[in-house]
Symmetry: C2
Subunit: 430 residues, 2 copies
């Protein structure tokens, strides 16, 4: 196909007329399709319905340690849940705390108590003139919302195909004491699906932070969320790597079963060094008497062990893979060669990241919405919702049915084409 930018004014307007007719036809169908959030589909949720049966009124509701899971207590989580989630995120079972249903909540609370009480005895961040976080971009909007909420200055760090630009990360972390954290989704990153390379992880572990209370917020949200059995990314385990490099306390690692069992009713966890965990328990002991142990028990009795969980994730992959491929194939077929956008083929996770021509993302999302397709707001993948290039769009193919997805993807590429045509027409006209 000829790249759009090489077309003449006449060719551009001709193509536009053609596509607008097509767009009008689809718009007339009054569709309502949602590709905005990384939300599992009903078919995926159905996979774990057996979990509703593992605890019954005749079950023994004591955990292995003999504690009655119905009653108060057990701050760290029941031992068998610690083991399951520790295996899931590849850490020792004594280096993990099990929480409630939301790892986002755990991250929020971790930043909140750093604000009010500091980190392992450091000055509370709210007492400092300036606190900064590094934000690999494009990234996860809810991470950025937390740091924005607490008035933390966010600094964009461009992503490369190996992870964040580590030259920049090192420059900031090793020389600016105000830099207290960095948001990372290190495996099948949100939204690009990039897994940090071995070298990137090692450079993280070798950081020499100017601030002793600097922490890597390692959101391992998609640790076992592969799309393929034969093509899987591998991520070096960061806690051990930091320990090896003499930086055992530098990282908080988060994970959850939200996209394994049920998004609303999963189990979240945080892994960290013993010293960090002790610091965290200090405030957790004040905050709660313990999290929902019956739900922890439910998860363990259902999955049994990490092998059970891995097998379960293959079923998720079987549902997700065709959806990702459908979208990617439409992108390839419809946009390949036009040079009006680029995208990455992820091997796992929940998103496809699309980079439009500069200045086109907002218009594309608006255009798609006109025809009934809701996308993540353009800019959402950047701190403060500001994509300096107005280029990145996050595509979330998980929730719609395959049929809906095919139409939604068609509308999306049509929107990309129309907005890109407009851009070139305007440029040529001026």
């Amino acid at each position: 196909m000829t790249p759009y930018r090489e077309l003449t004014m006449e060719q551009l307007t001709e193509e536009k007329t053609l596509l607008e007719k097509k767009f009008a036809r689809i718009k007339a169908q009054n569709l309502h399709l949602d590709m905005s959030r990384g939300k599992p589909s009903e078919a995926q949720l159905d996979l774990a319905m057996g979990m509703m049966d593992v605890l019954s009124s005749t079950s023994n509701l004591k955990c292995e340690a003999g504690v009655d899971c119905r009653n108060y207590g057990v701050l760290d989580g029941i031992p068998e849940a610690q083991e399951l989630l520790a295996d899931m995120t590849e850490v020792p079972a004594n280096q993990i705390i099990i929480y409630g249903n939301s790892s986002l909540n755990v991250m929020f609370d971790t930043v909140a108590h750093s604000m009010t009480h500091g980190v392992m005895g450091s000055t509370p961040w709210c007492k400092l003139d300036k606190v900064k976080f590094l934000c690999p971009v494009p990234g996860y909007d809810r991470h950025f919302a937390i740091t924005e909420y607490f008035g933390i200055e966010m600094i964009n760090i461009p992503m490369t195909e190996d992870g964040p630009d580590m030259d920049l990360v090192e420059k900031y972390v090793n020389h600016d004491e105000a830099v207290k954290g960095i948001w990372c989704v290190p495996k099948y990153s949100n939204p690009q699906g990039i897994t940090y390379s071995d070298e990137t992880v090692r450079r993280f572990a070798r950081l020499k932070p100017a601030a002793k209370d600097f922490r890597i917020f390692w959101d391992n949200a998609y640790g076992i969320h592969h799309l393929y059995d034969d093509k899987q990314d591998h991520l070096i385990e960061i806690l051990m790597e930091c320990k090896k490099e003499g930086n055992p306390d530098m990282v908080y690692k988060f994970c959850s079963t939200s996209k394994i069992s049920f998004p609303g009713s999963g189990v979240a966890a945080m892994a960290a060094s013993p010293a960090n965990l002790e610091d965290i328990r200090k405030h957790m002991r004040i905050q709660t008497i313990g999290h929902d142990k019956l739900n922890q028990l439910r998860h363990v009795r259902y999955f049994k062990d990490i092998h059970g969980m891995v097998k379960h994730m293959r079923k998720h992959a079987d549902i997700l893979r065709p959806k990702f491929e459908a979208v990617l194939n439409i992108l390839d077929d419809e946009l390949g060669g036009l040079e009006i956008g680029s995208w990455i083929r992820p091997r796992g996770g929940y998103f496809i990241s699309f980079d439009a021509l500069p200045g086109c993302a907002k218009a594309i999302v608006a255009k798609a919405k006109e025809a009934g397709v809701v996308m993540t707001g353009a800019g959402a993948t950047y701190p403060y919702g500001k994509d300096p290039q107005d280029s990145n769009i996050r595509i979330a193919p998980s929730f719609p049915t395959p049929e809906e997805l095919a139409i939604a993807a068609e509308i999306f590429v049509l929107s990309v084409k129309l907005v890109s045509l407009d851009k070139y027409i305007a440029e040529k006209a001026s």
Copy 2:
């Protein structure tokens, strides 16, 4: 019986010798009994086992509003859970937010976000030189732990049989802008089992706080936790009362099903004015995508409605009542007339509050522990763990079996007697 203080030195030592023999006999049994925490017993937990069966793999897991409870979303809680907990705490269903498994966590978070972000636009408390909370005493140790954790100065407000000393409350709240809150357990209070009188609630509602961000933290933990069907305390509903008095935003009301369904896996809630709830949603939206809706659904499907819950609470009462009465009867029988302690007969809640002779509480708790009975630490019912009189002891009769409880109560009264005898002997000797 002759009051101990009227006994001669000879009578005192004679009694002491006698009781010490008895104490030694019991001590030799090597008992391990726990009257320290307000923890439901196994028999109580068994009451709600049916809840483990209401959701199964064949259940419809959509809430009334049609939302799939397994998936993300629904910040305020599912409508039917809102209705159930709103009825439980006597507020309109649109004035309540349903949370996770712990109301303590909700209170902690409420103080935390007041620290970092203020209340409805007020200066964040962490930016103020001084923040104070009023603490009716004796009170709940975990409340005091939260305010202590955040460096909030706590001011003791003595409890009367009608609730907190309202003259003092008015003096502080209406004239000191640094006073930002008061901890209240208004019904079957922890530990005394006192319910605030109508007049007390009205005086709360009529407060004219010097600080516009002053809030009453109304922890309605025992709202339907009666011990008797025929003798029930009544508490005026505070939200409506505050609204009537032109103070709609002055109160946060907390409750949970921890002592109704399961302490570890219940559902917590907060009721407040629409303006307060909107303020709270502002930070909740950043903190989480939503709480565990399946557990909300489980509660609603099991209890059906408030009537179902009230019937369920009668079963709890049937288990708790004999335990309370056993302890109270032993106190009456063994300590009545000795004038070495006083206590209140509660009509609900989880505790019996015992006031020993001044300076004796710590020694009594230590003595009881010698014989294998763990009580709540003396002082725990006061801010900073400091009971100025060293007099108050909280008795929690819920967890032990009736048989265990009879022995534990015997050991307790024995400890009270021995420590009181020591006190009088020392006084007479000096």
